[in-house]
């Protein structure tokens, strides 16, 4: 077997996920270099979130391997991956409902990569809330935040674990163009701080601008990979989105996204 290359922060090798009669992922391989920003796109049910869960450890692949910093982490449980520097957010937010926003973030500070034992956690949590514009909600309970605030809390909490690789699941979905620009600026800033990001972006309103590479999934397979501008012009991609199963609300053609201007 070929040893994992040190230059890659993350490497997936021939990942297969079979769930009952369904093959959720087929033979997915992917290499991610440090400080890269990668967008994962594809129609509903393409396996984007499953792929993310394979990296963060919620889903064990039926076959294939996951390497992180040259180590085989396929068998590692999620908390160990977190402590090694992999953080993720969830598309449907999972706040700690009866904790305040700052306490939500404090869990990441305490148990993430820094494993901080004690101290003034509220003061340390505030900068992360500020990154996502939630400082004024620091003392609001998780369950009392709006959906959009809960999404932002997901990001603050993930960053509080001091990760090297951040997996963002649909952070920009449903945001106004102005908010998308905020998120894009944050993503750029994180990259400059040395982070690597994998972003699921079904509606292509975030990654078209910031991603170095897009990975297109369709029915569990990686059908294409390359620079955003090339990818979105490719007939196969257009087919995957617009082809046989066009959803009612419409794929990345919505006029409210900055991406729409770029589309052919």
């Amino acid at each position: 077997m070929v040893p994992a290359t040190e230059q890659n922060l993350l490497e997936l090798r021939a990942i297969e996920v079979i769930w009952g009669p369904q093959r959720l992922l087929r033979n997915i391989s992917l290499q991610v270099s440090p400080q890269e920003i990668i967008g994962i796109i594809g129609p509903n049910g393409a396996g984007k979130t499953t792929l993310m869960s394979v990296i963060s450890g919620q889903v064990s692949p039926t076959s294939g391997k996951v390497f992180y910093q040259g180590q085989d982490i396929t068998a590692w449980p999620p908390h160990r991956r977190c402590r090694a520097g992999i953080a993720r957010t969830f598309q449907i937010p999972r706040p700690f409902a009866d904790m305040t926003a700052w306490e939500n973030v404090a869990i990441g500070i305490r148990f993430g990569r820094r494993r901080q034992s004690a101290g003034f956690l509220r003061d340390q949590a505030l900068p992360y809330l500020e990154l996502v514009g939630l400082t004024h909600k620091a003392d609001t309970l998780g369950k009392d935040l709006t959906l959009s605030e809960q999404r932002r809390l997901e990001v603050a909490r993930a960053l509080a674990t001091e990760p090297q690789l951040v997996l963002l699941d649909e952070v920009a979905a449903g945001l106004s163009p102005k908010m998308v620009r905020h998120v894009a600026a944050l993503v750029e800033k994180l990259r400059q701080q040395g982070l690597t990001l994998l972003i699921i972006d079904h509606f292509l309103n975030l990654t078209l601008e910031v991603a170095d590479r897009l990975v297109v999934l369709d029915r569990g397979e990686k059908i294409m990979e390359g620079p955003p501008q090339e990818i979105i012009r490719h007939p196969e991609v257009v087919g995957a989105y617009l082809g046989t199963r066009r959803p009612a609300k419409g794929p990345p053609t919505a006029g409210d996204s900055p991406a729409s201007a770029e589309r052919p």
Partner: protein, 321 residues
Amino acid sequence: MEPDTVRKVFSWLAALLLIVGPLLFPEAEVYLLVFGLACFYAALAMAWNILALSGLLSLGHGAFFGLGAYAAVLLQQKLLMPVYPAVVAGGMVGALYGLLWGLVFKKLRGAYFALATLASLEIPRVIVDNWESLTSGSMGIVGIGRLPALDLGILTLPVGAGLRSQYYFLFGWMAFVTVLHRQALRSRWGWALRAIRENEVAAEVLGVNIYGCRLAALGLSAFLTGVCGGLYAHLMGLIEPAMVFSLQLAAFPLILSFFGGRFAVFGPLIGALLLYPLDQLVLQPLLPQGHAAVYGLVIILTIFFFPQGLATWFRPQSKTS
């Protein structure tokens, strides 16, 4: 006066009364007995709650209790172990059974976990009931001596000498369990348990070792419950399978914890110290037949009117942390 000050004064007075009271009224035997047992049930309730804080409600803690009781007594009778080491060993037997739960029930949550624990209460009961050569079966074991003097190095506590010293011993046991219960809420491990019970998946991606933290809670909870079982055998002087492996004993800590408040350090303790004396000293003389119904009534009223438990009334209204 500020409500917060009232709360503090009230709490300190109650604590003072519990500590000094027996010295002032050495003859109040009924009170010494009842409040001693209230301390015992407070410890039992907190032991149960340590697991509940990880988000799993157990209906089978009677298994640890019964195993602890039988192990402590049989180790003394068959292997001639001294009383206190045998009681601690009984706790360890309970903890071993708890770790077995941890392995077998790893994937179970919510009602499924509760039902599985209820079922696993029956297994040791049936074994003890039928292994007559060792346990004398459903006849039970009678004539178990009172707790002997406890030698703590600097002082020797004559635990079994009278109701007053027994009270102080049980009060001390409660205080010890309270410290551990506080850890399960306030320490770093306590934060982990809180994250786990609020959202397991979120907790694990934020670096919380959910299985490890939960196993620690289960092991400690089972150990303390087992020790309680061993003490119980000596407090009662006899044990039989139906008495120690009982659903009633398993549900009692649940009632006290819900009533007092499951997420407050002193919640289960307040529940036990109020409810058990209320039942024994007030209701039993009035209603000798049906006094135990109060527990059913209390749990219904608690769920309807203050689901967070009584302790929320004793707490300042600011945020919990």
